[in-house]
Amino acid sequence: MEQLLANPYVPPLILTAVIILVFPLIAGYIVLAERKVLADLQVRLGPMRVGPYGVLQPLADALKLMLKEDVIPSQSDKWIFWLAPVLSTFTALSAFAVLPLSDRFFVADVNIGILFILAMSSIGALGLILGGWSANSKYSLMGSLRAAAQMVSYEVPLGFATVTAIMCAGTLSMQGVIASQLERGVWGAFDNYGLMLIPTVLFIIAGTAETNRAPFDLPEAESELVAGFHTEYSGFRWALFFLAEYAAIVVISSLCVTLFFGGWLRPFPNVAALEMPLNTLFPAALFALIALGCSKGVFRQALAGFRLVMAALTGLFLLVGAAFALPVANELMIGLFWFAFKLAAMVYLFIWYRGTFPRFRYDQLMDVGWRWLIPISMFGLILNGVVQLFARG
């Protein structure tokens, strides 16, 4: 066993398999979280029927989507129609290969990791474009045209913001960026006397556009283009597009967390006094709180089966919380915990946007991208470069 794990190819392969198998489930639960958070913003309850408080909703959705009839429009370009969702999903999941989930969980630490992610997300856009084009429907076509224009426009400020962060860190490796933040003792977002906040904010805005999320969800603008590029898709193919979208959100959020918010590092990694409260107390207390919330459900649910599910969840979260008190388990999980925690905060931000903002119009989107984001991002790059050259040791 140990011999097997020592083989340099085996742990990454195991992790890859785990990511591919587990991510669809995680994406399903991000969708559920989105629906629940939106419901909370919109004075309603969200899914409540499948399982207690709707916790089994993602499974039901997945089952439904898999059992649906596989429709390929007769007038479509069948091969491309088939290829497009596969391409989108494949590229989005490929980007996971270089994500530093923690100090020990990552598939590969490539020295051009950031470049690889940007390349993969660009190719992912091709999936949307092909999907919209091949369906031979006008709504799809307009959706994919918008997707193409949007991707081209917003990749530029996204690139500039990334370059600024790379310049600050001095490396293209994802783990290297985190290491440099540890070394400098400050998150990328607050480096260079706070001037790095400019690329941080720009990265979040451009990242939202890059993932086609509200208020930049023009390619699938529901009230205008019915469903945009995936109008003609249904069932499992549609689910693949959906999976790709959520994978892209996770990837872009991860990139943001890694570049600007210290990746898997805990806040203030250089202050030794905070080691205990942040690395042990905080996660344990957080999971205990979640367990407490779940335990309420044990008493409130009427069905015995639902009570059992809530009891199981309570036990699970208590167990996870308790594990953080064990030094061995803590060391294994703490990086993953902080990474997931920051990632969740980013995803929450995306959901919050969606609940708050109206949608941009096509020309306004271009206007914001070219007239504002690109000049500001270039300015941020130059400013940070100058500061780094003269003011930083």
Partner: protein, 380 residues
């Protein structure tokens, strides 16, 4: 499905490659055409070159049905035209028949009618606001609006048992006396609305994306409004102070103190502000009407059998969407000889093409939303 025959390659190449306009069929099944409106868009890229409205998918021949019903029997049918503002429809119809009969409506009934129609105006505007915001991509306001609309519907439900198609009024007055907590509920609703309108303003009015999506979009100036016969919030947003409640007061509107909100440019943002302000004014009217609610009978002297003398009557009221007119011809029998409705939605929809030309696809849904149409009324 039959195989579609394609044109020969050379024709295909010509039609596919030259830069003809794209014809996009929007509706009748589309998320934001508010029912079954079908708009055929001629597009150059995303720019709208022209629109063509196809209506009639919801045509039920309401006006023809009237000819085979007695005057009372037809009254519930009018609720099904603008089902979002059923009370206003009922008011207009009852007033038209009362004019034919030359019947007197007691003051208490008048005041209750005013309260209910103003409540209905708030409900209608709330539905408009929610769906309009939804069209522009803000998905939250619709739930907030429905939450407040629910309070209005509760009052209707308590008053007459129905929530949507209320059939609240009868020819000559009211069917039911108000219930015990009617006044209190109305005043509570006014308080609630004033509080919640602030919430909507916080969410939308100050939002830069919202302002950019609505300012300068779908401009219809005063002259165009007159040309197209457009009424209601659309003409008021263009700067013309035209409100039938002031211009030719009915139901005792002359006794209430309220303003007609107007704006200057007549774009989507102005119409939004006008309607928001109208809700405030409706609350003002409701407060005054509740405070001065007279005692007395609720129904005038109208016989069980309604048989108006031969003649004709036209009555128009200020419905939430504009001027709602009823033209009724009586031949002295139990049934109306002819009923013709002037629906505000239908007339206002006529200006769609004018407002859409030169704008973008995304604006079309914003403009359909801002006209505030109800297809039940457009098609009848």
């Amino acid at each position: 499905m039959a195989e579609t025959t394609l044109a020969p390659p050379e024709v295909q190449a010509e039609t596919l490659l030259d830069s003809n306009e794209l014809v996009l069929n929007m509706g009748p099944q589309h998320p934001s055409t508010h029912g079954v409106l079908r708009v055929i868009l001629k597009l150059d890229g995303e720019t709208v070159l022209g629109t063509d409205c196809v209506i009639g998918y919801l045509h039920r021949g309401v006006e023809k049905i009237a000819e085979n019903r007695t005057f009372q029997q037809f009254a519930p049918y009018v609720d099904r035209m603008d089902y979002v503002a059923a009370v206003s429809n009922g008011l207009g119809y009852c007033m038209a028949v009362e004019k034919l009969l030359d019947a007197e409506v007691p003051p208490r009934a008048q005041a209750v009618r005013v309260i209910l129609t103003e409540l209905n105006r708030i409900a209608s505007h709330l539905l408009w606001l929610g769906t309009h915001a939804l069209d522009i991509g803000a998905i939250t306001p619709v739930f907030l609006c429905f939450r407040e609309r629910e309070e209005v519907l509760k009052i209707f439900e308590n008053y007459c048992g129905a929530r949507l198609t209320t059939h609240a009024f009868r020819i000559g007055g009211l069917q039911y006396e108000t219930y015990d907590t009617f006044e209190k509920q109305c005043l509570d609703l006014c308080d609630l609305m004033e509080q919640k309108l602030k919430e909507y303003h916080d969410l939308l009015t100050g939002n830069r994306i919202w302002v950019r999506r609505t300012k300068g979009v779908g401009i219809l100036n005063a002259a165009d409004c007159k040309d197209y016969g457009v009424t209601g919030p659309l003409i008021r947003a263009a700067g013309i102070e035209w409100d039938l409640r002031k211009a030719q007061p009915y139901c005792g509107y002359e006794n209430y103190d309220f303003d007609i909100p107007t704006a200057e440019t007549g774009d989507t943002f102005d119409r939004y502000m006008v309607r928001m302000e109208e809700m405030v004014q409706s609350c003002r009217i409701i407060r005054q009407a509740v405070d001065a609610l007279p005692e007395g009978p609720i129904k005038g002297k109208v016989g069980k059998v309604i048989k108006p003398p031969p003649g004709e009557a036209y009555v128009s009221i200020e419905a939430p969407k504009g001027e709602l007119g009823y033209y009724i011809v009586s031949d002295g029998s139990l049934n109306p000889y002819r009923v013709r409705v002037r629906p505000p939605s239908f007339v206002n929809l006529g200006a769609l093409d004018k407002m859409c030309r030169g704008s973008l696809v995304a604006d079309v849904v914003a403009i359909i939303g801002t006209i505030d149409i109800v297809l039940g009324e457009v098609d009848r």
